[in-house]
């Protein structure tokens, strides 16, 4: 942490960046995002096991882009999200200083190519807890899964916290806001919720960096991240592609192989 803060201070003092985005202490154990805009504020930044949020969600925001060049303290999931955003042309090389933190090690990166190289060295995988949850879902019968999700989704009130916390949900006009035609009903009733989560999952399939932010953001505790995780894992299994791994766009749903293997098309 010392080294990161030191470097952040340096960059701020030299005027190379306008702010550092990192974590600060919130209420209790919570860590909240923090923009240090002066060298003196850098000391408020903390980095510990309680820092979970994917900070990449902020860097595409108009307000942040307007600041100028910003440094981001980027944990692995944030790194993947930034790389995917670069591949999707939402961020340019050199627009950010990425202070990539992996355990004790810190690396300063500023381009998609450098991020790709950096991330290639690390294995990406779900943590044990999520793996177990997915396995549990998998073990259920189809009917049980239906009941499980209907139960879970019955609590959804379409607050869109899952959408808003996701770094990949940067669209200016979300499909949910599309009303000509009104594909997805606005109300948070059975069909409205099912369709919302189906669309959210399909939109993130092949783009989800598996940070799990959506699940953490849900105020009523619906494990919505399991949906995007399942889609992402199945894409990796079927096509070998992963979001947040390549500098050049490699989107599973706009590429194909003539011998893609499926068994269900009659």
């Amino acid at each position: 942490m010392e080294a990161v803060n030191q470097r952040a201070k340096e960059l701020l003092e030299k005027g190379e960046i306008k702010a550092v985005l990192g974590y600060a202490k919130g209420t209790g154990h919570v860590r909240r995002p923090h923009f240090a805009r002066k060298a003196g504020q850098v000391d408020q930044l903390v980095l510990d096991a309680a820092c979970l949020q994917n900070l990449a969600v902020y860097v595409t925001k108009h307000e942040v882009k307007k600041l100028g060049k910003v440094a981001v303290i980027a944990l692995p999931a944030t790194q993947r999200a930034i790389l995917q955003l670069m591949a999707e042309r939402q961020l340019r090389d050199g627009e950010l200083v990425i202070l990539a933190v992996d355990g004790e090690a810190v690396k300063e990166l500023d381009s998609a190519a450098a991020l790709e190289e950096h991330l290639a060295l690390k294995a990406q995988g779900l943590d044990a807890k999520d793996k177990a949850l997915l396995a549990e879902l998998d073990a259920m019968s189809r009917e049980q899964r239906w009941v499980y999700w209907q139960n879970e989704l019955s609590r959804c009130m379409k607050c869109y916290a899952c959408r808003n916390s996701c770094p990949m949900c940067y669209c200016g006009t979300c499909t949910m806001d599309c009303n000509r035609p009104q594909w997805v009903p606005v109300a948070s009733h059975g069909i409205g919720n099912l369709e919302y989560h189906a669309v959210r999952t399909m939109h993130l399939a092949g783009r989800c960096v598996e940070c799990g932010e959506c699940g953490r953001a849900c105020p009523v505790g619906i494990p919505v991240h399991l949906l995007t995780f399942a889609a992402e894992e199945s894409i990796h299994e079927q096509f070998g592609q992963r979001a947040g791994a390549k500098a050049k766009l490699d989107y599973a749903l706009s590429t194909f192989k003539t011998d893609d293997k499926e068994s269900f098309i009659r």
Binding site: Q144, W149, H189, A231, Q238, A252, F256, E262
Partner: protein, 145 residues
């Protein structure tokens, strides 16, 4: 279950292969069950998964999605993109517990008139045997529209 249950089947087909194949079924005067309602789109690549969801939303008990066989797409590769989309969509629907026996994906070429009749009959019989899609109808019922 209602004894006189007749399933509602919605089919999304591409203009160049399956729609033309269904035309051939007609010109060959091959009979099939009349439950299906066909929606024509240019290519399977145009078939948004939202259309499938909307068909279920409107109370379809079964859905058919059909286009050109791999390699035969009028637009060279629309069907390959569609195939991938379906591979992901199917997986996701399964995770959410949607009954995938009600959604049939198939390739029917412009020369396969008999195959189209057979497909429609098979799907209609299968969905009739499954009965109305009660689970889905329940959540539609929960809607206040």
């Amino acid at each position: 279950m209602d004894e006189k249950f007749e399933p509602k089947i919605t089919a999304f087909v591409c203009n160049w292969c399956t729609y033309a194949g269904a035309d051939l079924t007609g010109t060959s005067r091959i009979k099939y069950q009349s439950n299906v309602r066909v929606l024509r789109v240019p290519c399977t690549g145009r078939i948004d998964y939202m259309m499938v969801l909307k068909a279920l939303h409107k109370g379809a008990d079964g859905v058919i999605v059909s286009g050109c066989h791999p390699n035969d797409c009028h637009y060279t590769s629309g069907n390959y993109h569609a195939r991938r989309r379906w591979m992901v969509f199917k997986k996701m629907m399964e995770v959410m517990g949607v009954d995938m026996r009600r959604i049939t994906f198939s390739w029917v070429s412009a020369a396969e008139g008999a195959r189209w009749a057979q497909l429609v009959n098979e799907v209609t019989d299968q969905v009739r045997a499954l009965g109305p899609y009660a689970e889905f109808r329940q959540i539609i019922g929960a809607g206040i529209e």
